[in-house]
């Protein structure tokens, strides 16, 4: 276990390093970052002066080393438009995004896990068919369209919930449903298939044979054993949710990191884009690390090589 931890930590460092290269390359894929950053009407001398000032004339490796040295200290440069450190801007918006992400996950799990279990217990019955049809629909629906439809029906037509912005619980409902729907669909389908697999195993038959109540068989024996794969997906889905927040936040004018990034892209404010991509990706990597370690701890049968 100790060596597994060490290995996994080293691997994580490597991935973060790779991410830093990726984020660095965002600006350099076209070959000339100065032209990417400056507006098209910038004069040639201005471009040349800017290139010199930003150090774009240095070898790429030198530039990357400089970028990395700064990034380690949390310095992604100043925002071009807001005159503040890019990382601060991103971190300022983080609580709103996390609030939305957690609400979306809570919605998804509260709906999907019971639905998945029910579908598995009533396999090939009406409840299974209805539940899984809804899940398939949920997986096929673009989340942003669901968001628009919810706004149209619930906020505009029925006037029940606010259209946009961040505030109390009422503001959270629609964005959370929008963001959580895809995850809910995936988790419901996965819970069902995992439950079916576990329910077919010998120890479940034994539990039934020794006269355990069905509730105990399902709750204690089957559900707990199907939980590990479900939890893994949940952690991975959290990354998807953070990414999906970009779109949801745009629809609902939610003041989170995603909206900040979309705005920054249109303003061509690259330090903020770079800081945002990096922060979200690193959160995602760390979540994966936690899951892997928890996984090894929960299920000692897993051997890592």
């Amino acid at each position: 276990m100790k060596w597994f931890l060490v290995r996994r930590l080293l691997q994580t460092c490597l991935v973060v390093l790779g991410l830093s290269l990726l984020v660095f390359m965002i600006l350099h894929v076209t070959g000339d970052p100065a032209l990417v950053i400056l507006p098209p009407y910038a004069r040639t001398e201005e471009v040349a002066a800017f290139r010199e000032k930003m150090g774009f004339n240095d070898p790429l490796l030198v530039q990357y080393a400089r970028f990395l040295a700064r990034a380690i200290r949390g310095d992604f440069g100043m925002s071009f438009h807001q005159g503040q450190p890019a990382l601060d801007l991103v971190l300022d918006r983080m609580p709103a995004t996390i609030e939305l992400g957690v609400a979306a996950m809570v919605f998804a799990l509260a709906l999907a896990v019971p639905a998945g279990i029910l579908a598995a217990l009533r396999k090939d019955k009406l409840a299974d068919f209805v539940g899984m049809s809804i899940a398939l629909l949920g997986q096929s629906m673009p989340a942003f369209w669901l968001g628009l439809m919810l706004v149209m029906l619930i906020s505009v037509k029925l006037d029940l919930l606010p259209v946009s912005g961040r505030g109390g619980l009422a503001h959270l409902v629609l964005p959370a449903i929008t963001l959580g729907s895809f995850t809910a669909a995936r988790v419901a389908r996965l819970t069902r298939s995992e439950m079916l697999e576990v329910l077919g195993q010998d120890f479940v038959r034994t539990a039934r044979a020794k006269g355990l109540r069905e509730g105990a068989v399902v709750g204690k024996h089957a559900f707990k054993n199907s939980l590990v794969p479900v939890l893994t997906i949940v952690a991975l889905e959290f990354g998807t949710v953070l990414g999906g927040a970009v779109i949801t936040e745009t629809i609902f004018a939610w003041p989170g990191v995603g909206r900040l990034m979309v705005d920054s892209i249109f303003e061509r404010d690259f330090p903020v884009v770079q800081a945002g991509v990096f922060v979200i990706a690193v959160i995602f990597v760390l979540l994966n690390l936690v899951v892997d370690v928890a996984y090894a701890w929960l299920d000692p049968r897993i051997r890592y090589t």
Partner: protein, 279 residues
């Protein structure tokens, strides 16, 4: 045939939906009731079933510039399918090649390639797409490029694990004993064994690509106006959500139906061809 079709209603339904959309996209110029770009500010935001004098019916209404929504949706189908098909072909080819190489060669090559996939998987797709779209000016070609770059990892991972499980199999040992060399082993013996897996993956990925393309266009970072795309229509329609329900409803339905069809085909193909695959 019909008896077998009855046993797979989801496959038949999904395939029918997909075929219908493909047909619409291919024949867009013929079946589209009107010119998707023709504007008429006098006929803007007309509800479904309206009739415009001297021009004809607007079965699904008109948009904020008086363009026929049905016609734009039909042309949007062409864009969505084109982007999805090309992106899947590119990412599938790259991913499969990487997976074969990584799994068959192992060692250093495998290590490096797998680290690269990890880095890419660590970056939620939409962020990657946003970043790239921000630097490369948004247009159709760059949209395809972004989607293709984002999609290859899944093929690489799945193909690699299949290769690993087949590497020590007897048919491969037999081929090797008969004198087959590396490239022949990979192309003639391993690759055919990956095809069913890849077909399932490609179907599900095509569905994902359609959603992602529409999401990018919705954010204004994909297909650019005035060209019709489903995501772009939703972007414009969002502004008229309180006055023109049809503007946002129908393009979204088109996306959903197409993706649903592809997912149904993908699910049933997986059950038929490769039940162990988890997508």
């Amino acid at each position: 045939m019909s008896a077998r079709a009855v046993r797979h209603p989801r496959l038949v339904f999904g395939a029918a939906v997909v075929a219908f959309v493909v047909l619409l996209g291919l024949l867009a110029d013929v079946v589209s009731p009107q010119d998707p770009l023709r504007q008429n500010l006098g006929a803007k935001l007309m509800p479904p079933g309206s009739h415009e004098r001297g021009w004809g019916w607007h079965l699904l209404g008109t948009d904020h510039l008086g363009r026929d929504i049905l016609s734009r949706m039909v042309h949007g189908a062409r864009v969505s399918l084109f982007v999805a098909v090309i992106a899947v072909l590119i990412s599938g080819t790259i991913g499969t090649a990487v997976g074969l190489l990584s799994g068959y060669r192992g060692g250093r090559v495998d290590d490096v390639l797998m680290r690269v996939t990890e880095v890419q998987l660590a970056c939620p797709f939409i962020l990657l797409a946003l970043a790239v779209a921000a630097v490369l000016r948004p247009n159709l070609r760059n949209t395809v490029a972004v989607l293709a770059i984002s999609g290859w990892v899944i093929y690489a991972k799945v193909v690699r694990s299949r290769v690993l499980s087949l590497r020590e199999s007897e048919f491969l040992a037999a081929a090797r004993a008969l004198g087959a060399t590396g490239s022949r082993l990979v192309l003639r013996h391993l690759l055919p064994n990956m095809l069913s897996t890849c077909i399932v993956l490609a179907t599900v990925e095509a569905a994902r690509m359609i959603i992602l393309e529409s999401a990018l266009s919705f954010l204004g970072l994909g297909v650019q106006p005035p060209n019709a795309s489903w995501g772009g229509m939703l972007r414009d329609g969002k502004l008229y959500i309180s006055s023109a329900w049809w503007y946002t409803t129908f393009p979204g339905l088109a996306i959903m139906l197409t993706v649903l069809g592809l997912n149904m085909v993908g699910d049933s193909l997986r059950d038929l061809l490769d039940p162990r695959l988890k997508v």
